[in-house]
């Protein structure tokens, strides 16, 4: 089994250990919100299985972040051979002190480049339940653009919006699943196949879910309206809570301001790690969606031969 190291970093009390406990140790998020954990002292190591991977998770103490960002030896011990560095920050701090957060992220980016760790730098904007907005989809989209604009880095960083609020807890599972799946060879291949098949399509997005009903692959056409993503995740998560049959019944899904055509197909016969292929489009109707799915299936068959 392939092992990948993942490090959780961020300021104190942002939620690193809480996220770890909820996702990997089955703790009740409501309890942890009511009775917050004590500060983490020293790096905490743990190992977890995820699909065809072993994940070695490093939970770093928030209070030591400033030291970590300056001390080269500490950086080497923490980040050597790391596949992903997840920087977690929360919505209230983003509102009151965005420059501080931008500085943290820039430092991590430089450290990653300087030492050639070649880790993926991923951002989690946590506690979005505190952003109460009637147009939350576009709000989050705006924040995503704002962050990347302020960072001024050669490439845009991946940002996930997360929360442990009961109505939003799926955001954490999605973010983690998605991050880890980028290390799985089978998943990366599937993503390539879907990208190729979607080349000439407009306003369409494809997801692949795993056995736990978390989204592990996401490919969208460049003109897809990203402000609907937040609502889409919510709807998919709602529908996956119902029985498997109900998901396939309707041909439409309502995601925030839009109605999308939808098609859901079972992929588990191609690889036990995958469950469903979900395709949503603003414009493509049944026939085109069926063609897309058939192309993807054909390519998967060829791959396994």
């Amino acid at each position: 089994m392939l092992t990948k190291r993942v490090a959780l970093v961020g300021k104190p009390e942002v939620g690193k250990t809480t996220i770890k406990k909820v996702i990997f140790e089955g703790e009740d998020p409501n309890e942890l919100v009511l009775f917050p954990l004590e500060a983490t002292i020293g790096i905490k190591y743990s190992v977890h299985e995820f699909m065809d991977l072993k994940i070695s998770l490093l939970d770093t103490p928030g209070q030591s972040l400033p030291i970590l960002l300056k001390d080269e030896d500490k950086q080497l011990t923490t980040f050597e051979n790391t596949g992903a560095i997840i920087y977690i920050f929360d919505y209230p701090t983003w509102i009151s002190d965005s420059q501080d957060i931008i500085d943290d992220i820039k430092s991590l980016y430089e450290i990653n480049k300087k030492h050639k760790f070649e880790a993926k730098l991923i951002l989690f904007l946590h506690k979005i339940d505190l952003l109460i907005d009637k147009k939350i989809g576009s709000k989050l989209d705006l924040i995503r653009k704002q962050i990347n604009r302020q960072l001024e880095l050669p490439e845009d960083l991946t940002i996930y919006f997360t929360s442990l609020h009961p109505n939003l807890v799926y955001t954490i599972y999605n973010a983690i699943s998605h991050t880890f799946s980028t290390f799985s060879e089978a998943t990366v291949n599937l993503e390539e196949i879907i990208k190729k098949s979607m080349q000439n399509l407009t306003k369409t997005i494809c997801f692949v879910s795993n056995q736990d009903r978390n989204l592990i692959v996401q490919v969208s056409s460049t003109d897809f309206d990203t402000s609907t993503l937040y609502y889409l995740y919510e709807r998919i998560y709602e529908e996956s809570k119902l029985s498997g049959e109900t998901i396939s019944v309707a041909k439409f899904i309502s995601a925030g301001p839009k109605i999308l055509y939808k098609l859901i197909v079972d992929l588990s016969s191609y690889n036990a790690s995958f469950k469903n292929l979900l395709v949503f489009s603003e414009t493509l109707q049944e026939e085109d969606l069926n063609n897309l799915v058939n192309n993807i299936k054909k390519a998967l068959e060829q791959n396994s031969i």
Partner: protein
């Protein structure tokens, strides 16, 4: 704002009142069970605070009686003001029921408890600040809400005025500020403690651009307050569209023509929508309640593949949203209805 009040006796909710969306009863019982041991411990204060996602819970425990009072508040509320009020609730409650608590049928006593809970809620002055540049129509709308005569001449407001909207059990205090540029430095001070900010614009290009500054001020002064844009003077020929304003300023925008008579009710509904006020707080909110129910039905119909029903619901939502003054949502629903209609033929 005081969102909800819960009274819990012997681990059961014996009274609850919701003025706006807070924590629903099923979740709250779990929250209660979690804070129970801390609340009833013999050490420490009898009053405590617990943050739970987007709400701040203030509780007061009576250990001997196994009784707990809960206030569900927002993050902009001042805890020091709330503490004496929760004590007052406890005192009033005990005055009425202490002697016979084991035998009281609290369901029947609901109306009686409601009277003093409402009185306490009125002490949480729900502050809604109307901000915006000079001449956009802030005072017109405030006067309209107070049902005063609407001025036809623009008489600039100096400092500010407060209008009270009296609804059942909730009083809303509308703060109208001066829009004069020279009073810039006072805005942040005036906006402090607001539960909601209404930024008014006259729907002209230059005004919209300049109004963006208020968003910056409010995120500093009241980071957790709800914000909405009121795009006034939509009746004028060159008014910028709601959609466009939403794109430029990045906040939810409602259409308004302040000088029109129906605007008073529209404005109150917008405030209710913004604060997620409970529909039974006022009969004025009936369209909001109907809208929420119909939206749920539409979703269900769509999931079940019942397209005809979904189209009917979306058409209904279009007219309900127009009634509320939520033009952009109304357009959204119309687009949805039209998209699905083709498949029902």
């Amino acid at each position: 704002m005081l969102k909800q009040v819960y009274i819990i006796l012997n681990d059961k909710i014996i009274y609850h009142r919701s003025y706006s969306k807070g924590i629903n009863a099923s979740l709250l019982i779990n929250v209660y069970l979690s804070i129970k041991s801390e609340a009833f411990s013999s050490i420490g204060d009898e009053i405590g605070i617990h943050d739970f996602f987007e709400s701040r819970i203030l509780y007061l425990a009576d250990r001997d009686l196994n009784l707990l009072f809960l206030f569900v508040l927002g993050f902009s509320d001042d805890i020091e003001t709330a503490k004496p009020l929760i004590k007052r609730l406890r005192n009033k409650f005990l005055d009425s029921f202490k002697d016979n608590m084991a035998n009281v049928d609290f369901a029947a006593k609901n109306e009686e408890i409601k009277v003093f809970v409402d009185e306490i809620q009125r002490n949480f002055r729900v502050k809604i600040s109307i901000v915006g540049l000079s001449g956009v129509g802030k005072t017109t709308i405030t006067r309209l809400i107070k049902s005063e005569e609407v001025p036809t001449e623009h008489i600039p407001t100096i400092t500010g005025k407060v209008a009270t909207i009296k609804l059942e059990g909730v009083n809303l205090y509308l703060w109208d500020f001066a829009g004069q540029d020279q009073f810039d430095y006072l805005w942040e001070k005036f906006m402090t403690g607001s539960d909601a900010i209404l930024l008014m614009t006259d729907s002209t290009q230059s005004n919209i651009e300049k109004s963006k500054n208020f968003i910056n001020i409010s995120s500093k002064a009241v980071p957790f307050a709800r914000i909405a844009i009121i795009a006034n003077k939509q009746d004028l020929p060159h008014a910028i569209s709601i959609e466009e304003i939403e794109n430029v300023i990045g906040q939810k925008t409602y259409a308004m023509v302040a000088i029109e008579p129906g605007s008073r009710d529209k404005m109150i509904r917008i405030i209710a929508d913004l604060l997620d006020l409970n529909p039974d707080v006022s009969p004025l909110f009936k369209p909001i309640f109907e809208r929420d129910m119909t939206a749920k039905n539409a979703q269900k119909a769509l999931e079940e593949g019942n397209l005809k029903q979904a189209v009917m619901d979306f058409d209904k939502l279009y007219s309900l949203c127009n009634e509320i003054g939520d033009e952009s949502k109304a357009t959204e629903y119309k687009k949805k209805a039209d998209k699905l209609r083709i498949f029902t033929i």
